[in-house]
């Protein structure tokens, strides 16, 4: 009887041992899995943070490059850096009122400073000539739209594609008498129509080498006359309906008197 009992006990003890060693291994495995999971979670978090930081870095770099390119274009023609800032802001609110999405309006805002980038290729003698251009000089000056487009059109980036369109079409006129392609009405991309109005509004209100700044009355009169001629009538309406917004931008990005 005793031996029988002993045998059972030893069997149970052996089982117990096996069980312990198996559970030990299981516990070890589960701990290991937990560790791997925790490390993996931490790594994913780190990777996502890095990814987001990179995304912001790319976007900001793009913004800065585009803005700087615009400023280069403007500096060549001795205009102030604030001209591009104002045109950018005008373009955005006009785009929003026209019904473009916030994303597209922001894109246009960032791209519009490059509308004159083609001017880097215009000789100083023409670019900075006080007084009116003769026919030959006018022809040279007008090439800046095509040149700007050619500089930007190769890019696959949406922002630079937008900028290419703006550079190409910001001198087209609603009635088809603009350049370089004499596009008419809605043949002109909305980006071109918007930047045209924003650019002219700002240019007329600023001193330039060849002219003094116009007063508002004179500018508004011209805009009313050019409604449906130079400018998209819908955009002129938006301009006058939201005049305060435009004047506020002009005030907050004033050119400092040097």
């Amino acid at each position: 009887m005793d031996t029988h009992e002993n045998k059972l006990i030893s069997e149970i003890e052996s089982l117990q041992k096996q069980f312990l060693s198996t559970t030990d291994k299981l516990v070890k495995d589960v701990k290991r899995q937990d560790k791997i999971m925790a490390r993996s979670d931490k790594r994913q978090q780190r990777e996502y943070d890095e990814l987001m930081a990179l995304k912001i870095e790319i976007e900001e770099t793009q913004r800065e490059v585009v803005f700087t390119m615009g400023a280069i274009g403007e500096s060549r023609s001795k205009e102030t850096g604030n001209h591009v800032k104002r045109v950018a802001e005008y373009s955005k609110i006009m785009a929003l009122h026209y019904g473009l999405s916030e994303k597209e309006a922001e894109m246009l805002k960032q791209a519009s400073p490059m509308h004159d980038i083609g001017k880097v290729a215009i000789p100083d003698a023409v670019l900075n000539k006080p007084g009116r251009f003769n026919d030959e000089e006018r022809k040279i000056m007008d090439t800046h739209a095509q040149i700007g487009y050619d500089m930007l059109k190769m890019s696959n980036r949406t922002l630079l594609k937008t900028a290419a369109t703006v550079a190409y079409e910001h001198h087209e006129k609603w009635n088809g008498t603009g350049y370089p392609n004499k596009l008419k009405g809605e043949e002109i991309h909305i980006y071109g129509r918007i930047t045209a109005l924003a650019d002219v509004f700002d240019a007329l209100g600023s001193d330039r080498v060849y002219k003094k700044a116009w007063n508002d009355e004179k500018i508004f009169k011209l805009f009313k006359e050019e409604r449906g001629e130079h400018f998209d009538p819908k955009l002129i309406d938006i301009f006058f309906d939201n005049l305060d917004d435009f004047l506020e931008i002009r005030d907050s990005f004033k050119d400092t008197v040097s």
């Binding site: 290991r32 899995q33 560790k35 791997i36 999971m37 490390r39 993996s40 931490k42 790594r43 780190r46």
Partner: protein, 124 residues
């Protein structure tokens, strides 16, 4: 027994297992099916220790990026080395770039888990 050499791909490391005892894994490790990919590697190592291990086995692992199933697999990998560490001289170098925090942490985990193995952290 023959050497095993697997070329690196975009998702998998270069693996060279030499019967002279030099084993190396270099590159990234995030295959679609990690266990399937490493099956021949595990089989080779098992076979190596069973049949004709070199006097000294030196493992160089330089994995710059790895998914979680790879890190599970590396644990299995080290289990295999640990099982054979009584009868064999095995040294493992876990090599990583100083800035690669994930690789460093993984190396520390391995050292913690495998007290009987000689695992050295080597920064580049």
């Amino acid at each position: 027994m023959e050497n095993l050499k697997i070329e690196a791909t975009k998702y998998t490391p270069e693996i060279i297992l030499d019967t002279n005892g030099n084993l190396s894994l270099v590159g990234k490790s995030y295959p679609e099916n990690t266990f399937e990919f490493y099956a021949p590697v595990m089989a080779w190592i098992e076979n190596y220790f069973e049949t004709n291990p070199a006097e000294k086995t030196l493992v160089n692992m330089e994995i710059i990026y790895f998914n979680s199933s790879s890190s599970k697999l590396f644990f299995d990998f080290f289990d295999l080395f640990e099982e054979n560490s009584k009868d064999n001289s095995i040294e493992i170098n876990w090599i990583y770039d100083e800035e690669n925090e994930s690789a460093e942490e993984a190396g520390e985990d391995f050292i913690e888990d495998f007290e009987d193995l000689k695992i050295k952290l080597v920064t580049k």
